[in-house]
């Protein structure tokens, strides 16, 4: 009698949830920084100061600090959020990569079971 077994455990199916969770963390961090750091800073900077004040702000002033935050944070925050997107895609690719092995096993199981199905065919 043939020894029938399910598909072997693949490393991809162990690892993919890490990347899915990582995707959520990175995008979540980007959303929180956007909501609670950049938006209030932009509101304070643009709404709280006339253009003349913004343009003439001295080094070390709060206005310059706000401008620096707005200009520099965006430079790394967007790639961080897109790393989150890439993490999701990597997780999905890992899941897809596990399917051929599962299909191969499913085919083998079916080919062994087929004579038994024919023998025990429902009338």
């Amino acid at each position: 009698m043939e020894n029938l077994q399910g598909p072997s455990k693949s490393w991809q199916l162990t690892v993919y949830p890490i990347f899915t969770v990582l995707g959520w963390i990175l995008i979540g961090v980007a959303l929180l920084i956007g909501l609670f750091v950049l938006t209030p800073t932009a509101i304070d900077y643009f709404g709280g100061n006339a253009k003349a004040v913004r343009d003439s702000a001295e080094a070390g002033s709060a206005v310059i600090s706000q401008l620096s935050t707005l200009a520099s944070t965006q430079r790394w925050l967007e790639p961080l959020a897109f790393l989150g997107v890439a993490s999701f895609m990597l997780g999905i690719a890992l899941e897809f990569s596990a399917i051929p092995n599962i299909l191969k096993n499913r085919g083998q199981v079916m080919s062994i079971c087929f004579p038994q199905i024919v023998q025990n065919y429902a009338e």
Binding site: L4, T20, W24, L38, G47, G84, V85, Q116, N120
Partner: protein
Amino acid sequence: MKVQIPEEKAPFPFSMIEGMMPLYPWIAIMGWGFVLVSLLIGIFSLSPAVSTFFSDSKAVREAAEAGSAFVNANVTAHVLESWVPQFKFVGLGLGLLAITMALGTIAKRLRGMGWVITGHIREDLRPKMPSIPRRVRYFQFSALMGVMILVAALIVGIVLGVTVVPDYWSHSIATELNPAQPGSALLQQLETVSSFAKWLNPLRLTGMAFLFTGITIALTVIIGALKGQADLLIGFFNRATAN
């Protein structure tokens, strides 16, 4: 012998989602169309508006009065930039939704195949079909949530694009916008105009995250169905050969 596949009706609103699942090629085409429209708007409307605005020196374009070609071009550019990126992301979201729907359709067909195979097995040896996994509802919900967030972002973009954004930019930069003082209506509008993208852009990506999660869960359903079918067949084989 023809096996009758039982109709497994999902509760509302999932029944509606499942009914729409076979439409995934059209949803994908629609998503592609949205992105194409964004490109066309960029080429034929946004780009000419920006070109018009930058066609003269800084002093001239900033001194231009409300109603002039420069100010109108600036308004057009800013209005388009408030909603076209959200529109583009709805297109991308529809593409991801189509993938989720296609995976859902595959999972449903696999289940149908399971019914057919087990239906051909003698009743006393017939494996019992497992119930539909709860994860099916999760991926449907996640995909729906993702599209709803992207549509909400588009609505926010459109609302801003017909209210604050044109109201603010339809002024002369040098004589009205630049001299605006704290507490004035213009600076309050500038607050909104300069800050909305800071939270709307990550919100869009959150919508995408829900869609990616939907695809991830849909794949686990397919993988689970394939493994489950192998397990059912193995169980059947063991019972059949034990007799």
